[in-house]
């Protein structure tokens, strides 16, 4: 166990929390699973206490590289509540464009990673090529491809042109067509169906008891979406559908996310048509003073509910900021999803919650009969998973389909 320090390393653009799993196995079947969190401390919440209300937004967006827009927007939304600022409507529209575009980008990225983990590399290339288009749109919209810095306390930082809106509409149509293509591909390919269906099932009761959020909960039939429960920004007037499925397996999670790409594209098309005029932001002084209040800001990030808590004691800096990312809520359901499954299903099940963690970096496997302990690194596990699936494809087709 001297190589334990492999866990450290949040240098990736995504929020890489190192995590450890312990699985108790009987032969190939998993009997019990345990999750160990808390190997890494980034100190972002403490850092936010030393930044002014305005500067904090740019620290908050570095929490996650994939949902940086959601973190940035959630922070700005909370601070607007703290400072009692009413952002202009056009600013909110532009902010929401970044949120919905980000959902498409995040789901496409996840689809690619998920198919890559299961050995379907062609689709990985396909989805990442389409994701490149969202990145180009972000570059044009905000000036950067990954960390957008598009929102600010008091609205959005940049205005959009009519040319961009028509381009956005065209691209949204393209994303819808591509989502249709992926749906058809997933539902028609028997190999994909044999790999994903009836793997890592999370029942509705377990999803509710363990408070799963986002697409993980929605794939188990739980109607949970902050945009619908507590409409923020412009979601009160935006028409959109919430996608739920009853099965709760890896296939349902894939289909929910593919369908959500379509919904986000529809919202983008609606927003391009209904963009109001006027200013995009209210400029605040760099050292704005806040009254002593406590505020909670919630946003539906691509992975689920994102929560920011602010406490102000009256001053130019927050007294306390607490962040709860959606992955933290989705970690515990992994235990329920994985029990009774095979070792080779671990990468699929863990990837199916769209984890924002360097999960599976090391997996300990305890053989119950022999009392042996084995530590497997992630790469080894994925290789084993692919080989196992090739070996057992025939039986699995009979068992799962």
């Amino acid at each position: 166990m001297s190589s334990f320090n492999v866990y450290i390393g949040p240098i990736h653009p995504a929020l890489k929390e190192p995590i450890g799993f312990t699985f108790e196995v009987e032969g190939e079947k998993i009997v019990k699973a345990n999750v160990n969190l808390g190997y890494n401390h980034r100190g972002i919440e403490k850092l936010l206490e030393s930044k002014t209300w305005l500067q904090g937004a740019f620290v908050a967006e570095h929490v996650c590289g994939i949902c940086s827009g959601a973190h940035h927007g959630c922070y700005c939304q909370g601070v607007e509540e703290v400072l009692d600022i009413e952002p202009p409507k056009r600013g909110l529209f532009i902010r929401t464009i970044s949120w919905e575009l980000e959902r498409i980008h995040s789901h496409l990225l996840w689809l690619g990673v998920f198919f890559h983990e299961s050995g379907f590399d062609t689709l990985f290339m396909y989805t990442w090529r389409d994701r490149e288009r969202t990145m180009d749109l972000f570059e044009e919209l905000s000036g950067r491809r990954v960390v957008y810095s598009l929102s600010t306390v008091g609205g959005a930082r940049r205005d959009v042109s009519e040319a961009f809106l028509s381009k956005l509409k065209r691209q949204a149509r393209y994303f819808r067509e591509r989502a249709d293509f992926y749906e058809r591909l997933v539902l028609n390919d028997t190999t994909v169906l044999a790999r994903f269906s009836n793997v890592g099932i999370l029942s509705r009761e377990d999803a509710l008891a363990l408070s799963a959020v986002g697409p993980t909960a929605r794939a188990s039939g739980v109607l949970k979406d902050v945009r619908y429960e507590e409409p923020y920004g412009i979601y009160e007037e935006t028409p959109f559908r919430i996608i739920t499925r009853r099965e709760g397996d890896a296939l349902a999670k894939t289909l929910v996310r593919i369908e959500e790409i379509k919904v986000s594209a529809e919202i983008l098309e609606w927003m391009a048509d209904h963009m109001p005029g006027g200013d995009v932001k209210v400029k605040i002084p760099p050292l704005a003073k806040a009254p002593p209040v406590e505020v909670i800001s919630r946003v539906e990030a691509p992975r689920g509910e994102l929560l920011y808590y602010f406490k102000s004691t009256g001053g130019t800096r927050p007294y306390r900021v607490k962040i709860r990312t959606p992955t933290l809520a989705n970690i515990l359901p992994i235990i329920k999803m994985i029990e009774g499954g095979y070792i080779a299903d671990i990468p699929i099940v863990v990837a199916s919650i769209d984890p924002c963690i360097a999960c599976c970096e090391r997996v300990t496997i305890v053989d119950k009969d022999k009392g042996e302990k084995k530590v497997i690194p992630k790469r080894e596990l994925i290789r084993y998973s692919k080989e196992w699936f090739k070996r057992n494809l025939k039986e699995l087709r009979g068992e799962r389909l």
């Binding site: 740019f58 950067r144 810095s149 930082r157 760099p286």
Partner: protein
């Protein structure tokens, strides 16, 4: 049989279509209008008010004594290794002395390669 037709059609289409990727070090893609890249600093416009150093979230700007324009005046110095390219300094600069350019080649072998472009 249906899925085989679907797969073959897709495969042939991708075989004849152009590659989506760009051979980066040999072919360079130009950044879009409004890209936030290397900082350009116009020294003659700067009044030395220090607002950029105040708003910078990454503390990448320090005010250093510089006698070039006016003796005793403090001017900003940019540390691009700390910069997060949020462009708050350019947004809050009252005399528009800071601009973010389209230059995204921010990696170099020497320290001078990752410095802000100063225009006197």
């Amino acid at each position: 049989m249906k899925e085989w037709g679907f797969a073959w059609r897709e495969a042939i289409r991708r075989l004849v279509s152009k590659a989506f990727t760009v051979q980066y070090p040999f072919v360079s893609v130009e950044a879009m209008e409004g890209y936030r890249g290397r900082i350009e600093y116009y020294m003659s416009k700067c009044t030395g008010c220090g607002l950029c150093a105040l708003v910078c979230p990454a503390k990448a700007i320090t005010m250093v004594k510089n006698d070039k324009i006016k003796p005793g005046r403090r001017m900003p110095v940019f540390d691009l290794a700390r910069c997060c390219y949020c462009a708050l300094c350019a947004e809050y600069c009252p005399s528009k002395a800071i601009k973010l350019t389209k230059d995204y080649h921010l990696v170099g072998y020497r320290k001078e390669d990752v410095k802000a472009k100063v225009i006197e």
